[in-house]
């Protein structure tokens, strides 16, 4: 082994990489917010009486769950170009991850809705609550408790998935910045090891804050 590690340039690039980590978080958070929005629509649609809606929701969910995330990002970046929709790498990455998140979260929400016994809703109604009131005060909090843990898991996955942006040319997220630095200096191992540490800390930050939040929210 005749390789000498040069950690100094990597540490000097740390501020740049931390700015990149901010972009990574931004993509992840945005994709989760949009993903939750679409997932709720999908969960509602897949329980609807209209076959077209059910079919559309089912195809979105099955496509998102049965093809690689990278494929979905490619579709948004290269595929949509054929239809005349030219997305930049940032929106393409966001669209790909959102599509993926929505598919996985829709299943989670469906399970969450099923986990709340229908008797709860009926009991709330017979206590004089309105339909919306009962849903908001009785069903939603119980559902949230069930889906909270899968939701944080999906958030961690969203962070890890953002690293795929570099493949469609994103150069300002954590992996993108790291790759730019790498191309300039070829200190691949050092730069990417540092990026790995930052990703690990990001993932742990999410899990830890979720645990704190759960402890505040879900105690009786």
């Amino acid at each position: 082994m005749n390789y000498t590690f040069h950690w100094l340039p990597a540490f000097r690039a740390l501020p740049d990489m931390l700015w990149g980590a901010l972009v990574t978080l931004e993509v992840a958070v945005l994709s989760m917010l949009l993903g939750v929005f679409f997932a709720v629509l999908l969960a509602v649609a897949s329980g609807s009486n209209y076959r077209v809606l059910r079919g559309a929701a089912a195809s979105w969910i099955e496509l998102a769950r049965n093809t690689p995330a990278l494929f979905q990002i490619y579709m948004a970046y290269f595929g949509l170009g054929s239809l005349g929709i030219h997305l930049d790498s940032f929106p393409a990455l966001l669209a790909g991850i959102t599509f993926n998140n929505a598919g996985y979260l829709a299943e989670t929400f469906r399970g969450g809705l099923r986990a709340v016994p229908p008797t709860q809703l009926r009991a709330a109604r017979s206590l004089g609550m309105g339909q919306i009131q009962a849903f908001r005060l009785i069903v939603l909090p119980q559902m949230f408790r069930v889906v909270f843990y899968p939701l944080t898991n999906q958030m961690v996955w969203a962070i890890l998935m953002t690293s795929l942006g570099v493949i469609v040319g994103l150069n300002n997220d954590l992996t993108g910045v790291t790759q730019e630095l790498n191309v300039r200096s070829f200190r691949t191992f050092e730069y990417f090891a540092l990026a790995a540490v930052i990703y690990y800390l990001l993932a742990k930050l999410v899990t830890l804050s979720a645990r704190l939040l759960a402890w505040r929210l879900f105690r009786y």
Binding site: M1, Y3, R65, Y74, T162, S163, L164, Y200
Partner: protein, 228 residues
């Protein structure tokens, strides 16, 4: 022969995608499946070992294993692949990128499989195991005849999900230079410039490889839950 067949079909579809291209993509799909096979095989064997160790060992063995395996789940696979690939160059081993891809994916698979095995193991009620022991079974007999069958039922649906997850994650391996399904579709896209069509075919192949097995897993899960 292929070219004549595609020349026949080309006016039908108005595409320059030929049967040769399809063959090239199917070969890529073969590489995807081979990667999945080796990664899942290695990952599962390691996962069973670590899972059982985690389930029966005291906390000072359990905790370090848990922390190390958690690292593989908290770092993007792409970064892990790049790191492994450059580490290979640093220590001067001459493995090809297919092997590196298999190893990284196997470790990734192992980190998830360990948790599946562990939770399956711990799902077996202590009373059931005590009953087995008081019937005169030895510790090993209890493990092989009581714990494993029950844990298998608990863990198999998630294991199927994991296998499909690994299959989808093999798409990232092209970054270190393995021409698998997604990469082969990229090669063709670069040549014939029909990204939507070619990518759709790639997506269809992924879907066909994943969907039936995903359905099987969902059905097993449902059926076994009814029997509980």
């Amino acid at each position: 022969m292929f070219s004549s067949v595609s020349a026949f079909f080309a006016p039908l579809f108005e595409t320059s995608f030929s049967l040769n291209d399809l063959m090239f993509m199917l070969k890529g799909a073969g590489i995807t499946l081979a990667l999945t096979f080796w990664a899942v095989l290695g990952g599962t064997l390691l996962g069973v070992v670590f899972g059982v160790i985690r389930a029966i060992s005291p906390w000072w063995v359990n905790l370090p294993i848990g922390i190390v395996l958690d690292i593989f789940r908290s770092i993007p696979l792409l970064i892990q692949l790049v790191l492994a690939n450059s580490f290979k160059t640093i220590i001067g081993v001459r493995w090809d990128s297919f092997t590196i891809g298999c190893i990284v994916l196997a470790l990734y698979c192992c980190s998830y499989c360990t948790e599946i095995v562990r939770s399956g193991f711990l799902a077996v009620p202590a009373t059931t195991r005590r009953a087995a022991r008081s019937l005169g079974m030895s510790w090993t007999q209890d493990l092989t005849a009581i714990v494993f069958p029950i844990a298998l039922r608990v863990g198999l649906p998630s294991w199927i999900g994991l296998t499909l997850g690994v299959m989808k994650d093999t798409a990232m391996v092209w970054w270190i230079g393995v021409v698998e399904l997604l990469r082969s579709s990229q090669v063709i896209v670069t040549r014939i410039q029909e990204p939507l069509f070619v990518l759709s075919i790639a997506g269809l192949i992924y879907f066909l490889m994943s969907f039936p097995i995903a359905r099987l897993g969902a059905r097993l899960e449902k059926r076994w839950r009814e029997n509980d």
